[in-house]
């Protein structure tokens, strides 16, 4: 599903990712761990096509994300991936269901029933008509997940999805990810949280821009 | 405390330099708009009135009665600008005229003796008066105020002549070069004008037949209309003073009569009525436009400041969260907006200085100077508006901190 080959990302003289290579199989759950500033989010942004590498290749499904232009990357994001951010990044003045429908609109056509179904899946159908800015952190993250999965992407990328949540909401969100994984979604999660890594198939550690324990498979709990 | 306040305000301005610059630019543009247009409006009425008063609107003639006809002299013309004439400053121009019949190319022609452009000293002041100083008349052959040969003639537009005129007056024939052609749009287009001294030499006629006067007048109101219809006899002392001390055409004619008793003062009503009507209409419009400009400028400043403060709500929320009082937040905003106003006032001053000059030159062909009081007022306006804008924002500051930070 994902192939990274000698990927380097540099901001000026600062090397954030230094010759990273990795591979993720379809249906796999990979957790990326590392201290702050190690390059985890940059790696996720590169896979998502939000940013481009300084050198190296990135393949996702059949697309060489590192070689395509702006518009093609936008199309790739619409069709192939769903992204969940630590800061949720919902449009604050749209309701929960409208935030989900917005992703549909950008993909094809908005369908309220489908959007409601996605919200039901994350247990938020009763809060569908509340403004995003009025929802709690946990609720906002669930809306963000509903938005990420509404177009049924094969790959789900999440950047610290539980980083801003309390224990209860963290469990709810992780349950949703677990279900999605069970349904066959490929999931890449950047996290600090050991509990999250335990849910994954394997964990990649990243330190000073280098992936060190690539291929280490953790025991599933 | 105050030092820290300024430090944070300056730091905030530097960090959010684009926002700060945008606010300062809005305030500067709005203030410059106010200074420029207000200066223009304040001067427009008098400038347009001056533009309309470039032609004679009164004529002095010797007073006739059954027994005798009085005599007008050039001293009477000078007297119009003398200190004994109350409305001397509103007399823009005056020209003596004496008539004669002449012949040109074997045909009769109307001849008039006058001053072309004569420097006259009255009460220690020097004025240029004469036919060619009526700025509303079109001159060909030289600019208004340019040198004119006194031994030449000025011909009306309907007089078909080349570079010179062979003129016969009183049996004497002389050739005069043509200095200017004058298009007045009235009777004068049929005349050949001689310098008064040359005219006297040719005709031997000393007395004047007319004095043309261009006066700057004020549109009449009810009081002036009463004076025109019924005279001032029925006026109370206060009414008379109010009428006398306003430059109505009738009041100026009255003071001219006081100054030059042998004259009958005729107000050229076809001219003054039009002048009054246009000045009246335009002055009202200018006043209204001034008020509108003031509203526009104040709203623009208000909007800029409100937008700036709205965008800072989150930052203020954070300050409130760490214990800042409402007064402290208010003070913070006032300092920042005040700082922007200060920068803007300086920019507005420079901007309006150039704008006022160039715009007034373009509109009235005269470079106005922005009024000092107006500049001071415009510089103060942003500060005052800032305070009002921020008072409105107090409501926002009263909001729950959590609400703001959400």
């Amino acid at each position: 599903m994902i192939e990274l080959n000698q990927v380097v990302k540099q901001y000026g003289t600062l090397v954030v990712l230094n010759s990273v290579s990795l591979s993720v199989s379809p249906g796999e759950w990979v957790s990326i761990m590392g201290p702050s500033g190690s390059g985890k989010t940059t790696l996720l942004n590169l896979i998502a096509g939000l940013d481009t590498p300084t050198s190296g290749q990135i393949w996702v499904k059949d697309t060489e994300v590192s070689a395509i232009g702006h518009e093609a990357r936008a199309r790739f994001r619409r069709e192939t991936i769903g992204i969940v951010f630590q800061q949720f990044h919902l449009i604050p003045y749209l309701t929960a269901v409208e935030n989900v429908m917005l992703a549909q609109y950008l993909h094809s056509l908005p369908d309220r029933d489908e959007a409601m179904a996605a919200l039901k899946l994350v247990g938020l159908d009763e809060r569908a008509n509340h403004l995003a800015s009025r929802l709690s952190g946990g609720e906002q993250q669930r809306v963000a997940i509903a938005r990420a999965i509404i177009n049924d992407p094969p790959l789900l990328l999440a950047d610290e999805p539980t980083g801003n949540l309390d224990a209860e909401n963290e469990q709810i969100v992780l349950d949703i990810f677990r279900r999605l994984h069970d349904e066959g979604k490929t999931i890449v999660i950047v996290t600090h949280n050991a509990e999250v890594t335990e849910l994954g198939d394997r964990t990649i550690r990243i330190h000073h821009g280098k992936t060190s324990e690539v291929g280490v498979v953790t025991e599933k709990v | 405390m105050i030092g820290f306040l300024f430090r944070t305000a300056i730091k905030s301005a530097f960090i959010q330099k684009y926002r700060f610059v945008s606010l300062a630019v809005t305030i500067a543009v709005a203030s410059a708009l106010l200074i420029t247009l207000a200066t223009l409006y304040l001067n427009a009425e008098s400038q347009l009135a001056l533009g309309l008063s470039g032609i004679p609107n009164m004529v002095l003639e010797p007073q006739k009665s059954v027994v005798a006809t009085s005599r007008l002299t050039t001293d009477d013309v000078a007297a119009l600008k003398s200190r004994k004439h109350f409305w001397r400053n509103n007399i823009l121009n005056a020209a003596p005229v004496a008539f004669a019949e002449g012949q040109f190319d074997g045909k009769p022609v109307k001849v008039a003796g006058t001053w072309f452009d004569k420097q006259v000293s009255v009460d220690g002041e020097s004025y240029n008066l004469g036919l060619l100083r009526f700025k509303g008349w079109e001159q060909k052959g030289g600019p208004i105020g340019g040198p004119v040969d006194r031994n030449a003639v000025v011909i009306g537009a309907n007089v078909a002549a080349g570079d010179s005129v062979r003129l016969t007056v009183n049996g004497t024939q002389r050739v005069f070069p043509v200095a200017r052609t004058l298009k007045t749009g009235s009777y004068w287009d049929d005349y050949v004008f001689l310098d008064l001294d040359n005219f006297r030499e040719l005709t031997g006629k000393d007395a004047l037949d007319q004095v043309l006067v261009g006066a700057l007048i004020k549109p009449k109101d009810k009081l002036a209309t009463r004076a025109e219809l019924y005279g001032t006899e029925g006026f109370t002392e206060a009414e008379f003073q109010a009428w006398y001390c306003s430059p109505y055409a009738s009041a100026i004619a009255y003071t001219i009569k006081e100054t030059v008793p042998p004259a009958e003062v005729k107000v050229l009503r076809r001219v003054t009525e039009v002048q009054e009507g246009i000045i009246q209409a335009s002055s009202g419009v200018f006043m209204a436009l001034f008020v509108l400009t003031l509203i526009t400028a104040v709203t623009a400043i208000f909007a800029g400041e409100k937008m700036y403060a709205s965008a800072k709500m989150r930052e203020l929320g954070i300050m409130a969260a760490i214990g800042a009082s409402r007064q402290r937040l208010f003070l913070q905003l006032v300092t920042e907006v005040g700082l922007a106003s200060l920068v803007a006032a300086a920019v507005a001053y420079l901007l309006s200085w150039g704008l006022v000059r160039s715009v007034s030159l373009s509109v009235f062909t005269i470079g106005f100077q922005a009024n000092g009081i107006l500049i001071a007022a415009s510089a103060l306006t942003p500060f005052l508006v800032s305070l009002v804008a921020l008072l409105f924002l107090r409501k926002g500051l009263n909001k729950n901190v959590v609400e703001v930070l959400r």
Binding site: H89 | A44, G185, E228, V267, T272, I278, Q280
Partner: protein
């Protein structure tokens, strides 16, 4: 969906948009009013020019019949011991043609002010001239007629015909005196007014644009974040541009319509109350108001779009 997102965005930004819209609408109103007032002024000046009265004095050739204007027959006669100029004309038509003339008194015989002063005649005193009896009304016209006594009657053999015409030039070459002394002053005046109004309009447009740029800068942080989110969800730059344009078109349409309505109201108030004339909506005003509104908001959207293109999505999403 586009409309839903755009309207929600506008609602969300009311705190920013309301003061901005008020300023823009007032600026547009001033701009439109300047144009309408500028155009109306010509009408006002022309109306005032009517007071100028007769602008052609035609001296008919012998036997020439003139079927227009007010014919006046002049002759000398005696009034008491004095010799006076008597003019016979339709006095009603004469006064209607010359609204600037001042008539003092209710009498039916118009005695020019010079004659009245010379002979000591006062208003409403009885008069008999050439067998015609009547009461004196003093005429102050500021013209040669001040030296006449004018009685109402038919001018069978007119010595002159007074005309008021929009095209006095047609009488050039005829035996006519053409009076247009204030015409040049009028054109100079109108030109000054036109320029003044142009500057009012230009400076108001500048003020509108300054406010909009202010908005674009102030709101840039939050906007960028939104654009970043849309970009992360796979929106093309063109889709984002569509969102921005739709929002600003809506705002510009709203401001333009209200600006035009206020322009009309303002110019009506300005012209009707101060100059007692009725302004008509000029095509220029519609054009300027809509043009400026559109141009200002397109400028604002361009700033947003350029900002969006300048940053990467990662920066956008952080709101940098």
């Amino acid at each position: 969906m586009l409309f839903r997102v755009v309207s929600a965005s506008i609602r969300h930004r009311l705190g920013l948009y309301v003061p901005m819209l008020i300023t823009i609408i007032i600026s547009l109103a001033l701009l439109g009013a300047a144009e309408i007032v500028g155009v109306s002024f010509k009408g006002i000046v022309n109306r005032e020019m009517e007071k100028y009265g007769a602008n052609v004095i035609l001296i008919p050739e012998k036997g020439e019949v003139v079927n227009e204007g007010v014919p006046v027959q002049v002759r000398n006669t005696r009034l008491g011991d004095a010799e006076v100029n008597l003019a016979m004309a339709n006095t009603g038509a004469l006064l209607a043609m010359n609204p600037g003339w001042l008539v003092k008194g209710e009498g039916d015989v118009l005695v020019g002010s010079s004659v009245a002063a010379q002979l000591g005649l006062t208003r409403d005193s009885p008069i008999e001239i050439d067998g015609i009896q009547g009461k004196v009304a003093i005429l102050e016209s500021g013209t040669e007629f001040d030296a006449f006594v004018i009685v109402n009657g038919e001018a069978a053999q007119p010595s002159m015909v007074l005309l008021k015409t929009a095209d006095p030039a047609q009488y050039k070459g005829k035996n006519a005196i053409i009076l247009e002394e204030i015409t040049r002053a009028k054109y100079g005046f109108l030109e000054s007014i036109r320029r003044l109004m142009l500057y009012v309009a230009l400076i108001s447009a500048l003020s509108a644009i300054a406010v909009i740029i202010n908005l674009a800068r102030i709101d840039a942080g939050e906007r960028q974040k939104e654009f970043g989110i849309l970009g992360a969800l796979g929106a093309l730059p063109s889709t984002i541009a569509r969102f921005i344009l739709a929002e600003f078109l809506l705002l510009s349409g709203f401001s333009a319509v209200l600006g035009l309505v206020f322009s009309m109201a303002l110019s009506w108030a300005l012209v009707a109350l101060t100059a007692k004339a009725w302004p008509a909506l000029s095509f220029g005003a519609v054009w300027y108001v809509f043009g400026t509104a559109l141009a200002s908001f397109v400028l604002a959207s361009s700033i947003y779009i350029m900002e969006f293109r300048r940053h990467s999505i990662v920066e956008e999403i952080r709101g940098e």
